[in-house]
Amino acid sequence: MEEFFQQLTNGLAVGGIYALIALGYTMVYGVMKLINFAHGDLFTIGAYLGLTLLVSFGLFDKIGPLPAVILLAVMVMILVAIIGAVLERVAYKPLRHSPRLSAVVSALGASIFFQNAIMAIYSPKFLVYPHDILPKAAVNILGLDIPIMRIILFMTSLVLMLALYFFIQKTKIGTAIRAAAIDQGAAKLMGINVDRVIMLVFCIGPALGGAAGLMVGLYYGQINFSMGWMYGLKAFTAAILGGIGNIPGAMVGGLLLGVIEALGAAYISIAWKDAIAFCVLILILIVRPTGLLGERVAEKV
């Protein structure tokens, strides 16, 4: 039983990251019906920028771990948000009225561009965040030793997700985003600047992805230029699992995917854990084609 709970926390830690990245996919899809394949690479950029800022400013020595992490997160999120907005401007906006496939190809191209740009700038080697900058202590909860960093990691992703949820549901700008997601034409007629909404979506999604990248860098330490591929793929799966275009769905999907993977590895086979996760995905999609929380698409008659 102890092992079960241990594996559950393992799964939740991984799932929290998936969920945070999945939000970027799902928001962009919700508004633009576009899978932003470059999103995984924006996550990687977040990890690399975090390392550069951390090393070049020596923040941890100057202001202590907690303020340093917060400051770092804010800087990384702003920078990645800017990159996201530029990406939208350069790669997607000119294709707004082209067939949807053109935008998908443009997204794939942007992904390849980012990946190779990171490799060219930072070298293909694995880079490592400095060791021992974060507390390594563990707390004992119900007989389980859980590293304190893992709890912070999980809580941070939860807080970011909830903040986003309330932003979308309760504020005026959030309402505009939702309106643009339902019908861009009608939203325009109601006086909503849809271009600006899309720009904003391309700031928020990448910012969350960048934050996830920073968290992975800080917690796991090792980063490399192709890491966005695996995380992007898993987060994309999580977004589908929860119902793409649906924000709570991305959170549930991410956490669930992490837990399924951990439990599949623990009780069936480690080598088969991805296969197990994808089987569960297929089963869920057979029963609920729009994902767990996906809204039913009204049939046009």
Partner: protein, 376 residues
């Protein structure tokens, strides 16, 4: 007088012919297929630097039998599909022989392409057994085979007194081959295999696997995969507070392992490997290491890239001594006449299958400062 003029004219003509002749001297083209991009890119970049350095040295010393050497490089991306394309491209570039590549599955995708074009291939990091069991007469490698490593692994684990052994691989053909080999040998010796499974390479979080491994309570974990995953395993193992000893296969031999894991987590980790560049003590190796450091500022990352240098050196030796450039003739020379050639990584001879002969493996242990220390 006429005769004198004739001689003079003849001499002038001969001189012109000679100068022109040397300007026309043909070049010997040698292909290099290596992973310049992809997850093994750092190995590939080192391979390229080493081979280019050695070729520049050859050319400065007058080339091979008077001919300049030209290296033609193609990127295989560490990916079998891309390797097949790279190999096809190289076969059209009039190369006499090809060096490479690193990963076994990647080399495998290119083997038949070179064989059909009659090009000699010398692989550098591809240790999977089956590569040399296909009766391809033009295939060679400067690295040892997995079955040899499996034997050394079983011997080492027994010698260290471990009885309950966990084996973890990563489902690549190399790591799985080594894991299977070690498992069957250890079972024959009556050891218990407490755990046998594979992780997914390229992930960051291996806590789920470590939790499961821990519940199997092994005396030692033998990981046959690559260094990025080994580093993460060591690091997360320490964070879990579980201090079981760990032994790695030769793909964990890379200084980045310690960088990823951190000195504290990596301390005590052991791995099997051909000697690392710094432990190579032949005069050739020392001269090479000095030249490399002078040109690039650092020492080469791992021994696998140095094996590409050895591949280059045996090819050039074969071309120079046999005065031939056809794949068949070169292969015949390497198999029958090249004996105990003094390579960068020790003496090199090949058997009939094109495998390197000799005992190359050593046991290394990581010390508290993160250095790889050769175990006696």
């Amino acid at each position: 007088m006429k005769r004198k003029l004739f001689t003079l004219g003849f001499l002038t003509l001969a001189l012109v012919a000679l100068t022109l002749g040397s300007a026309w001297a043909k070049t010997v083209r040698i292909g290099l297929m290596c992973p310049l991009t992809g997850s093994w890119a750092s190995e590939g970049q080192d391979m390229k630097q080493i081979v280019e350095l050695l070729a520049a040295e050859t050319n400065k010393a007058g080339g091979v039998g008077g001919d300049q050497v030209e290296i033609v490089i193609e990127d295989d991306g560490g990916d079998p599909r891309q390797a097949a394309l790279a190999a096809t491209r190289l076969t059209t570039k009039e190369i006499s022989a090809v060096i490479g590549t690193y990963g076994s599955s990647v080399t495998e995708a290119s083997q038949n392409i070179y064989a059909e074009s009659g090009i000699l291939q010398v692989a550098t990091g591809s240790t999977a057994i089956r590569l040399s069991e296909k009766n391809l007469p033009l295939f060679f490698r400067t690295c040892p085979r997995d079955d040899e490593q499996g034997m050394v692994a079983a011997k080492t684990l027994s010698a260290l007194g471990f009885a309950k052994i966990a084996i973890l691989h990563d489902n690549t053909s190399y790591a799985k081959g080594l894991a299977d080999e070690a498992k069957s040998l250890l079972e024959k010796e009556g050891k218990t295999i407490a755990f046998f499974d594979a992780l997914t390479p390229g992930e960051r979080d291996y806590n789920a696997i470590l939790t499961k491994l821990k519940s199997a309570a092994p005396d030692v974990v033998f990981f046959t995969g690559y260094y990025p995953e080994a580093g993460m395993l060591l690091r997360q193992k320490m964070e879990m507070g579980w201090n079981v000893p760990m032994l790695g296969g030769d793909a964990t031999n890379n200084p980045d392992l310690v960088k990823i894991a951190g000195n504290k987590a990596a301390e005590g980790f052991m791995f099997l490997s051909p000697p690392v560049p710094a432990d190579l003590d032949t005069p050739e190796a020392k001269a090479f290491m000095d030249a490399y450091k002078a040109k690039y500022g650092t020492a080469p990352g791992s021994v696998w890239a140095v094996l590409a240098g050895d591949a280059y050196r045996v090819i050039v030796e074969a071309i120079a001594k046999s005065k031939e450039t056809s794949g068949e003739k070169l292969a015949a020379y390497l198999k029958t006449e090249l004996k105990d050639f003094s390579g960068l990584t020790g003496k090199i001879s090949f058997n009939d299958k094109g495998d390197r002969v000799g005992d190359l493996y050593r046991v290394y242990k990581v010390d508290a400062a993160g250095a790889f220390v050769l175990q006696p």
